[in-house]
């Protein structure tokens, strides 16, 4: 706790807010407000699958003048907050972009830090019976090309996956590590081709986009992506979930850095999504009642009219 003065030695609104939020009464009020917001959000449509590109840890560290490692740690704290909001609202799958294959271009020190940090954090949330993931019954899955992971870390990760595998709820945390969409698509293509070769898929005509999706690292039991969030102001997808995000999903580019992405930012995105989804659903229920087949059927208007009154003519009897 920096008591109002951040590491640069200057007062900022954020740090004053930090002190205020540590007063017991205010903490209570804030947490009450958060619960209230979540209860409200729960009554509307809820996204099933949210993906997050957590960008901005390094820039945050630079801005705050703190070591890189602490920037990553702050990012991890922020992640726990966001996960909490998502799962409490009822989101089933949260996917995070923990490490890109391209990230191997970074210095070895940083790559090692990131790997170690990720392992420690995942261990922390899944080690004991009452740690976060196991207490909230969250299934942790590692998504990505495992051949790139060093063996000792891979072993630990597999243990984590194993211990959280039997979660009774549908909540899942997909950790993309190391992942790129291009790698995923080529993996899928390779798998399908080898299946065709070995006769597991009988004919090449059975191949469609659904089959390619099913052979992704994600597997077939993942709901379609509803929201993709990228923090820190870049408007690029950086090889993350390109296939899933390019149809019928909302892409949000947010300007805040990831460690500063907190409760309010997350709820406002959820609220915005649920607002638009309500409009869409309502529109569909008004316009989309008729299916294509019903539209094609020709209606004989004359036959459907009610019967006219009896004919009465003076001359023709």
């Amino acid at each position: 706790m920096t008591f109002g003065i951040d590491t640069k030695g200057s007062y900022s609104i954020n740090s004053i807010f930090n002190i205020l939020s540590n007063f017991p009464l205010l903490t209570y009020v804030i947490s009450f407000f958060q619960d209230f917001m979540i209860e409200i959000l729960k009554t509307g449509p809820i996204p099933q699958h949210i993906a997050i590109i957590m960008d901005g840890n390094r820039r945050y560290a630079k801005q705050k003048n703190i070591p890189l490692k602490e920037g990553h740690t702050a990012g991890a704290e922020s992640l726990v907050n966001v996960l909490d909001v998502c799962y409490r609202t009822g989101v089933q799958h949260v996917t995070i972009y923990a490490f890109s294959i391209e990230n191997f271009n970074r210095s070895k020190d940083e790559v090692d830090t990131l790997f170690g940090l990720l392992r420690d954090k995942l261990k922390m949330i899944s080690e004991h019976e009452d740690s976060y993931a196991r207490f909230n019954k969250i299934r942790v899955r590692i998504i990505g090309n495992r051949t790139y992971i060093p063996l000792d870390i891979l072993h630990d990760l597999e243990i984590i996956e194993e211990t959280t595998k039997h979660a009774t709820s549908k909540r899942t945390l997909n950790v993309c590590f190391p992942y790129t969409t291009r790698d995923e698509i080529s993996h899928s293509v390779r798998t399908i081709v080898s299946k065709v070769e070995s006769g597991e898929i009988e004919s090449k005509n059975l191949i469609d986009s659904k089959l390619i999706e099913d052979n992704f690292y994600f597997g077939s039991d993942v709901p379609p992506l509803d929201i993709l969030i990228r923090t820190s102001g870049h408007s690029r997808l950086s090889d993350f979930m390109l296939w899933q995000s390019n149809f019928n999903s909302t892409i949000e580019f947010v300007n805040t850095l990831w460690p500063e992405f907190k409760f309010f930012s997350m709820t406002s995105i959820l609220l915005k999504w649920s607002y638009y989804r309500t409009l869409q659903l309502e529109e569909l229920s008004i316009m989309g009642v008729k299916t294509d087949q019903e539209l094609k059927q020709k209606v004989n208007v004359l036959k459907e009219l009610p019967k006219p009154p009896p004919f009465v003519s003076v001359t023709q009897r």
């Binding site: 409200i40 509307g44 291009r182 898929i201 090449k204 408007s235 390109l242 390019n246 019928n248």
Partner: protein, 353 residues
Amino acid sequence: MTTSKLADHVRSEANVHTSMHDISQEINVIDSSVDDDKLGHQPPNSIRYNGLIHMIMITINELFNVNKLKDRTKKQTESMLGLIQFYIYHFLLLFIYILITIYKKFQTIYRKFFIKFYTLIYHHNNSPQLIRDDVNKLNKLPKTLSCILDLKDKDDEMGGIDGLINQISELTAWTLSCGIPVLQIYEFNGKLITNKSLLTKLNYKISKNLAKYFGLNNLPNYSIKIPHENLIIFGPQNTSNSEIDLQIHLLSRIDGKPTIVELTKTMSELAINKELTIQDISIDLIDEELIELVGPEPDLLIYFGPNLDLQDFPPWHIRLTEIYWEPENYDVNYSILIRALQKYSNCVTNVGK
């Protein structure tokens, strides 16, 4: 396994010429029997309304739609108290929705003024020199520019096929003046691609519009390419020998996921015939084939619509693409293009670092 052979396979599978086919001569007859009415489906995300009265009606409808609410509450609670609680919370949510609608109304007005302001500042005046002056202030340009255009309703302003063709011809003139060599036009339904008479119309409109900018006697050389059909059309003035100033690529949803599916089919067929081993299938191979089949990766993608929606754009190609769109904008506008180029020139790309 030569790579061009793979792409040829995919094309012959789809009954398309394996070598680039020039149809500039074939299509000079204008056939006006085009059904403009069947515009096809719009991608689901582009339906968005935000009228206040509309919203209030929806909320009221939602609140009294008891059956739907009952379904939802059953999942959460059975007790009477829980039911009442649910109703209160839901009412509050709908109230927030109405507040959002009011806020959005103000935002829309603000955005409209903002866009108008920029339209006044940056105007092309049909002059390539002015456009080049604007562009020369920037420190870098994208090599490939991609634009997602909406096919609007026929009755709207700049709507229907004619509106789309007009928009493309304007974009052509602007990109030529900017000096960008490749322009990709993506339209969800691909209405232009499937109809040769529309291509004739497009070619005619583009050259007519370019004459407005560059003068009738020295029209720039351009070519219109349709990667999926492997067709190419050259502008009226040039032969295939002279240098091309601008390549226009027309894309549609069929160039996205379906093309990757076709490629997979071809690869599996070759694998059965032992012409391709599984180790050969790499990111590089797929990348090469998709560049051959669809086109280059765009550096900058501009969506000329109010809310960002990628509309099934080829997923392989948008890996590092800078995406730009202007909220509450419904038109293809020169100021939007310039602002997108400005943003592109300011952004830093560091792959992975």
